[in-house]
């Protein structure tokens, strides 16, 4: 098996060395580039311009802002000074010091919510997709039903769930025991997780469903002929083939969960430390007119989201960038084909 694997790996790995096969592949596009390069740049420039206005400029401004501290109060006049003092990296350093307690609490809350909700959503979402994929009567109805939570705006579902988790609400009536969900504590986290999973599992379900529908039926037929039972079919056919779609769905959910703000804010409350996320912390700092620390927290959150996305693309090969990933996958497919033939 190892032997058969070598040839594709070698051709791919010799990219800088420009082997014969490589040149043959790139020969045509190279000629086209010389003529249409300027045209391409011209066509792409509006996009780049918009991107730099709405993404790069604000990001740079936030980076700059995060180097400034809050304005001070002049005890003699009772007025706040006009300018923000430059404090360099103090806002970042502070998270390791005295003020860091709240940051780390928010950081762990964010991470905890992300890991738990995305984990649960993945399992439930895949199950939903499998159900939606099955051909049965009333399938359209079930699909629509599953989609409703995703269609409800988060703020509204926050209100809805606050009503459910009220002290004399439906949740307590169901479990027959009074839990004060919207107070501080672990149960508040549970409330947020339940509401978040309810809301976003359909998203994963939908993306996975799309992935399921492009798996050819013959694969299953072949598996059935070979005597593979449904669980085996699921682990060895469905899951590997649906993985690209699933990875993208999970990545989007991760990024979304890391930025979670409105659900805990509305469902449990703004000042609740047990559910405070990094977005809530940054918002709170900004609303208390401390834009420096707020920007620093937002930048750190941005980096955190970025690193997670990078990890997904690099380690798990999520198909985000398009070509690179497509090539890698093609290589993998080839390898698998080799394995099969071997």
């Amino acid at each position: 098996m190892t032997k058969t694997e070598i040839p594709p790996a070698v051709t791919e790995g010799r990219r800088p060395g420009e082997p014969v096969t490589r040149r043959r592949l790139t020969a045509k596009p190279a000629r086209a580039t010389a003529g249409s390069g300027r045209m391409a740049a011209l066509l792409v420039s509006p996009t780049l311009l918009v991107l730099s206005i709405v993404v790069i400029y604000p990001t740079l401004m936030a980076l700059k802002e995060s180097l400034y501290g809050p304005k001070g109060l002049d005890p003699a006049t009772g007025f706040i000074s006009d300018t923000e003092p430059f404090v360099a990296l103090k806002n970042y350093a502070d998270i390791f010091g005295e003020a860091g307690e709240r940051f780390w609490n928010a950081f762990w809350n964010t991470t905890f919510f992300t890991v738990v909700t995305v984990g649960l959503e993945t399992v439930i979402g895949v199950a939903m997709a499998l159900i939606m994929h099955k051909a049965f009567r009333g399938r359209g109805f079930v699909r629509a039903g599953i989609l409703i939570p995703w269609a409800v705006p988060t703020a509204i579902s926050g209100l809805l769930w606050r009503w459910i988790f009220n002290s004399d609400g439906v949740a307590n009536a169901l479990i027959g025991h009074q839990i004060l969900w919207t107070t501080e504590g672990f149960h508040a986290k549970v409330a947020v997780i339940i509401a978040e999973v309810w809301k976003t599992a359909p998203f994963i379900g939908l993306l996975v469903l799309a992935g399921l529908q492009v798996i050819p039926k013959e694969v299953y037929e072949a598996a059935r002929l070979d005597g593979a039972r449904p669980p085996r079919q699921f682990w060895h056919i469905t899951l590997p083939l649906v993985k690209p779609a699933l990875l993208v769905a999970v990545l989007f959910r991760c990024m979304d969960a890391l930025r979670m703000f409105d659900l805990p804010y509305i469902l449990v409350g703004a000042q609740k430390h047990s559910v405070e996320t990094l977005s809530m912390l940054a918002q709170n700092e900004a609303s208390n007119v401390r834009f420096g620390p707020a920007s620093a927290y937002a930048v750190l959150l941005f980096l955190y989201v970025f690193l997670i996305a990078l990890a997904f693309v690099r380690l798990l090969g999520a198909d985000l960038v398009g070509e690179g990933a497509a090539r890698r996958r093609r290589r993998k497919t080839e390898r698998r084909r080799m394995e099969v033939t071997a």
Partner: protein, 438 residues
């Protein structure tokens, strides 16, 4: 196997969505970066010149009584028209938008309707102008209300409406249990409640509730408990002084009541509306709430079965916190002469009386509370006047957001039993000192 490689269209959509997510991440950061370099005009006295169209900025007018008043002004002053800009109902959102306007030195907002607790912050940042005291009829207004409009002795706003807490009680049950007078002290309240609970129909009722969820309402209720026991949260200069035996007695009333069941277990999740519903559905004997509830309760199932009294305290009547709104003048606005006239018009006795009738907003003028026609329509007015006269404003400090967050944090920890009240007050004092010193 070929189907596994996704078609290009799908790939591009994904790539696009990815950049959309990143853009959203970037927008989150933009939300936090204010416009840099906001140099203000300095503390020089404003001249209040210029006449012409202005704007009035307030939270959403749910009663529909503000626009007719503005229309009346506009008819009288066709060249100095006022446009009403309605902000969201949520006070935090209102404050955020007003701050944003001030930080960008925009002249879009002229007259601001400020929550009473924002005055110090807006004044210290010089987002609002110091106003000439002599031009407003402040002497006819209730003193605690005027105090909420001041910062370091200077007038920065004019009271438009006020609000005070009152004790709602089930007069029918109290009478039945043989309690002739509403309680004046906390001990009397517990005593009266014990008597009521001996009645068969009140067996499952709880005694007392306020607004004890961890939000601004808790700051109000905590400050009331502390002030009603003779303590303070911050003194007149804004210096924290909450780690005292008096404050301890106040907090102990709340904590003890939560422990011994005087306050129901779910009381720590109550906001105004939760308490009102519990009271109206007959679950509570006593409830601390704002006057807005009076009309609603009078139209509910307990019509004629309840009454209001001033808040009780440790040794005598308690001290309410103050609500309400003040009218301030944005420092970056134009046509300030018109704005000043408009503020005067809007806060006139006549107009606040109209607001009382149409929107049941408590007026700042003392005389209106003794008006026979009004008191027959609003029987709670004398009680409310007493409540406001005995009221203590919430901490008047510049970083009010931090102060109220610290109060909520510690009071809630004590109320839910996470901390002893002594420890909570000690931690609160430390937290307040830190945020006020900044």
């Amino acid at each position: 196997m070929t189907t596994k490689t996704s078609p290009t269209s799908r790939t591009t959509t994904r790539a696009f969505r990815c950049s959309a997510v990143l853009a959203a991440g970037g927008l989150l950061i933009t939300a936090c970066s204010p416009s840099a370099g906001t140099g203000s005009g300095g503390p020089g006295a404003p001249s209040f010149e210029g006449r012409g169209p202005i704007t009035y900025v307030a939270g959403k007018d749910t009663t529909g009584s503000v626009q007719p008043m503005i229309d009346r002004w506009n008819r009288q002053h066709p060249k100095e028209k006022v446009t009403f800009i309605q902000l969201p109902t949520d006070p935090d959102a209102q404050r955020r938008q007003m701050i944003q306007n001030a930080e960008t030195k925009s002249d879009a907002y002229t007259v601001l309707s400020l929550d009473v607790v924002w005055t110090s912050e807006f004044a210290a940042h010089q987002w609002i102008d110091r106003l000439p005291q002599e031009r407003f009829p402040l002497s006819g207004m209730l003193k605690p209300v005027v105090e909420t409009a001041k910062y370091r002795g200077g007038l920065y706003a004019v009271p438009g409406s006020s609000d005070g807490g009152m004790l709602y009680y089930r007069s029918d049950l109290l009478k039945k249990a043989g309690v002739s007078q509403p309680p004046v002290t906390w001990a009397e309240l517990k005593d009266a409640c014990a008597k009521v609970k001996r009645l068969p129909e009140a067996k499952d009722m709880s005694c007392y509730a306020g607004q004890f969820q961890k939000y601004e309402g808790l700051t109000v209720n905590f400050a009331e408990a502390v002030n009603s026991a003779g303590g303070t949260v911050t003194d007149a200069k804004g210096t924290p002084d909450v780690d005292t035996p008096e404050a301890r007695k106040g907090l102990d009333f709340l904590v003890g009541s939560a422990k011994d069941g005087t306050i129901p277990e779910e009381g720590v999740t109550y906001q105004e509306e939760d308490g009102r519903q519990a009271f109206q559905s007959g679950q509570l004997v006593f409830l601390r709430n704002w006057p807005y509830m009076y009309g609603l309760a009078a139209n509910s199932g307990i019509k004629g079965k309840f009454a209001v009294a001033p808040l009780p305290g440790l040794d005598g009547p308690g001290a309410s916190s103050l609500g309400g709104h003040n009218m301030a003048l944005s420092s970056s606005a134009e046509n300030k002469a018109t704005a000043l006239d408009f503020i005067k018009f809007f806060t006139s006795e006549e107009n606040t009386a109209t607001l009382l009738k149409e929107a049941s907003a408590a007026p700042p003028y003392a005389s209106l509370y003794d008006d026979k026609a009004l008191t027959s329509q609003y029987p709670y007015l004398p009680v409310l006047k007493e409540s406001i006269l005995r009221a203590v404003p919430r901490p008047r400090v510049v970083p009010y957001g931090d102060v109220t967050a610290a109060v909520q944090q510690q009071a809630y920890a004590a109320l839910t039993g996470d901390k002893s009240s002594a420890q909570a007050l000690k931690d609160l004092q430390a937290a307040l000192q830190k945020s006020v010193a900044q």
